[in-house]
């Protein structure tokens, strides 16, 4: 599904700002990959680079989705191919209601694929179903997008978008940060209910605790812009117990 080959990326317009220093990763269809790492390891950058955030510049390597390079594509084009990024800090957008914005997103996708737009009636039905499924307060989605939402409500709103857009590859960028256990469980339930042989996930997280609820197929440890270790779900438990120190020291020695 997704293949990352020797990916190098820097911050746009800043010299010597390389953050990703040769990432190699393959995510198969239906797989859940966790990317763990200490602060500043580049894991959040990786999530954003995959989605095409304009703040980063890819300097080497390639990323392919179903065999086609996506690096030249705009974020909206990547979304149309089925990619989705759940944000660590979802933007607050005054005056824009979630309903309106998700309809625009689906319309734009349909248009790019030469399909008919969903009728307002059908979309409303779908939207209401998903609002209920995610357990988001219906009054909340009548307000401006994320404006005045609590941290948990914002994440729940990200799950709502995930449910409505039904992506083929969902990337969760530290979705667990700032969440209490209940909210964490909601996010995990959202992801688990959407797991299918057709859908892949990349779960970026600092802590192991989210992985108590979402069992990954593969765990990668990212340190200083490189994947230093790959293993099964038990690798996350090791990190929880021992921390990142040994990887940092090893990476330091190699630097």
């Amino acid at each position: 599904m997704l293949e990352i080959n020797n990916l190098h990326a820097s911050v746009v317009d800043i010299e010597n700002s390389e953050i990703l220093k040769g990432i190699n990763l393959k995510v198969g269809k239906g797989e859940v990959h966790a990317i763990m790492g200490p602060n500043g390891s580049g894991k959040s950058t990786l999530a954003n680079v995959l989605m095409g955030r304009p703040d980063y510049l890819v300097t080497d390597g390639d990323v392919t989705l179903e065999g086609e390079s996506i690096l030249e594509l705009r974020p909206d084009q990547r979304a149309h191919l089925g990619m989705f990024l759940a944000f660590q800090y979802p933007a607050e957008i005054p005056g824009v209601r979630p309903w309106q914005f998700l309809k625009a997103a689906l319309d734009s996708k349909a248009e790019s694929r030469g399909e008919d737009k969903m009728s307002v009636r059908n979309f409303s039905k779908l939207f209401d179903e998903k609002v209920e499924a995610v357990g988001i307060n219906p009054n909340l989605v009548k307000r401006s997008l994320n404006e005045g939402f609590s941290g948990g409500e914002k994440k729940r709103n990200e799950m709502l978008q995930l449910e409505v857009l039904q992506p083929a590859l969902a990337i969760l960028d530290e979705t667990d940060s700032g969440l209490d256990v209940d909210a964490l469980r909601i996010v995990a339930e959202g992801v688990n209910s959407m797991r299918s042989p057709e859908r892949s996930f990349i779960v970026v997280t600092h802590y192991q605790r989210l992985l108590n609820y979402i069992t990954p197929d593969v765990v990668h440890i990212l340190v200083k812009g490189k994947i230093v270790k790959t293993g099964g779900a038990d690798l996350a438990l090791e990190v929880e117990k021992d921390g990142y120190q040994e990887y940092l020291e090893a990476a330091g020695a190699n630097a």
């Binding site: 304009p54 703040d55 909206d76 933007a91 957008i93 005056g95 997103a105 996708k109």
Partner: protein, 450 residues
């Protein structure tokens, strides 16, 4: 205020004034005196110029207006269908239509509404309705302000609304000021007088439309008298054509426990000024002055908003939002004066702007002058661009860049648009906004990512 070359300005308008005076025979003596005073004041002031020391006009260049010539008192023909197509309309509303400054009984849509007297200002003057003699030009025209002075010199007609004590009207009253289609540049000075009695409640929509493509000059003046415990929900819609000059004035005098709420929608004209002053003249009066302005091309759009707290226990709130693109220029000049006796006053001022291009310019100048000591006041102004993180957020969901920008601009306007409550009016301002956004984005260069 320091003003240059009044003589040139006087010369420009003197022919028209002389012919007005020559036809003065059937006008009451008191109006002759009012006009004369207006002309005398204007002759002294001339047109304001942009120069150091002229604080009120520091940011606004009236040179294009000063350079143009306008014929006076030439009325064209207009149909109801044209008005309905160009502006907000609802058959259920009482609508007074004023064409090129003159009341039109034929185009107006007036129902027999108990407690409402709506019609021609000229008629109200000649028959001496209500307090017209003491009210007309009492709030605007006797001050040192060139455009109200000019307007006052040319008082002839417009609209007059009187609402009897205790009348509460659910349906809005609209006054449409329409400029007819004519290739010739003309000047018009329509007046509006609203006499809202005690314990009245009305919704008032003031609409300025222009059916011509040519350069027109309009200096309308509205004077609103809010009687004790009255509630006025006011809307002002200005969509003149982009070759025209619109120098509008609204003056409101509020008595005790009155509530005046006004929302402006200003998108038209080459040079436009919305000069509003509310006088909180008795305890318990409150005013809310809100507005949305959108500018593109080389438009100039000024909001000159001021409130005087003359008595204790009054509340004022000024909140304007602007969306600017192209090489357009907007001014928000908000002023609140709290007089010595006006203890327990509460005043807020806010102006938020979205700049879509490098060439667009906003001068935001909220100011407070406080002479009382027990006052709660706050003010602020911001100018920002579309946030690139927000744009990325929308794009990451599959919304393309153009659509994402349109969503964000619309979102910025939304809270002001929501204030336009009457359905037909809300539909109208939303439609105009949706038509403007692509034009604004066309001239945009600061947002978006390559």
């Amino acid at each position: 205020m320091t003003l240059a070359t009044p003589a040139a300005a006087v010369e420009k308008f003197s022919g028209a004034y002389e012919s007005l005076v020559a036809g003065n025979s059937d006008v009451p003596e008191w109006l002759k005196a009012v006009r004369q005073q207006g002309w005398a004041t204007f002759s002294e002031l001339g047109l304001p110029t942009k120069r150091r020391g002229n604080e009120l006009w520091k940011y606004t260049n009236l040179q294009p207006l000063a350079a143009a010539d306008f014929a006076y008192s030439i009325g064209g023909s207009v149909t109801v269908d044209q008005i309905k197509a160009a502006g907000p309309w609802d058959d259920a509303w009482n609508t007074v239509v004023v064409v090129d400054g003159k009341f039109s009984a034929e185009l107006s849509n007036l129902h027999d509404t108990v407690g409402l007297d709506a019609g021609s200002l000229a008629e109200a003057i000649s028959s001496g309705k209500g307090d017209i003699e003491s009210q007309l030009a009492s709030l605007a025209g006797r001050e040192e302000y060139a455009f109200t002075a000019l307007s006052t010199a040319f008082i002839e007609d417009g609209a007059y609304l009187a609402i009897a004590d205790g009348t509460e009207l659910e349906q809005p009253i609209q006054v449409v000021f329409v400029t007819s289609d004519d290739p010739e540049s003309r000047a018009s000075y329509p007046r509006l007088v609203v006499d809202a009695g005690a314990n009245t409640s009305i919704v008032l929509i003031e609409t300025y439309l222009n059916l011509s493509e040519s350069s027109q000059f309009s200096a309308p003046v509205a004077e609103l008298f809010a009687g004790d415990k009255s509630t006025i929900r006011h809307y002002r819609v200005q969509i003149e054509n982009e070759n025209s000059f619109h120098l509008g004035t609204t003056r409101v005098r509020q008595l005790g426990d009155t509530n005046f709420t006004s929302t402006t929608f200003a998108v038209g004209a080459s040079i436009a000024r919305n000069d509003v002053h509310t006088l909180l003249d008795a305890p318990g009066a409150s005013c809310t002055l809100h507005g949305l302005y959108m500018t593109s091309g080389s438009q100039q759009q000024d909001q000159e908003i001021s409130t005087t707290h003359a008595k204790p226990g009054c509340t004022s709130n000024q909140f304007y939002k602007g969306i600017l693109s192209g090489k357009s220029h907007a001014v928000f000049s908000g002023k609140v004066v709290v007089m010595r006796d006006a203890q327990k006053s509460d005043a807020t001022q806010k102006d938020l702007n979205l700049l879509l291009s490098r060439g667009a310019e906003i001068d935001a100048k909220p100011s407070l002058e406080i002479y009382a000591d027990d006052v709660v006041a706050a003010h602020g102004a911001t100018a920002g661009h579309v946030d690139k993180d927000t744009l990325f957020y929308l794009q990451s969901r599959g919304v393309d860049e153009e659509a994402a920008k349109a969503i964000l601009v619309r979102g910025f306007a939304e809270e002001m648009l929501n204030e336009f409550e009457p359905k037909a009016l809300n539909d109208f301002v939303e439609r105009i906004t949706d038509e403007r956004i692509p034009i604004l984005l066309e001239e945009s260069d600061t947002i978006g990512t390559a």
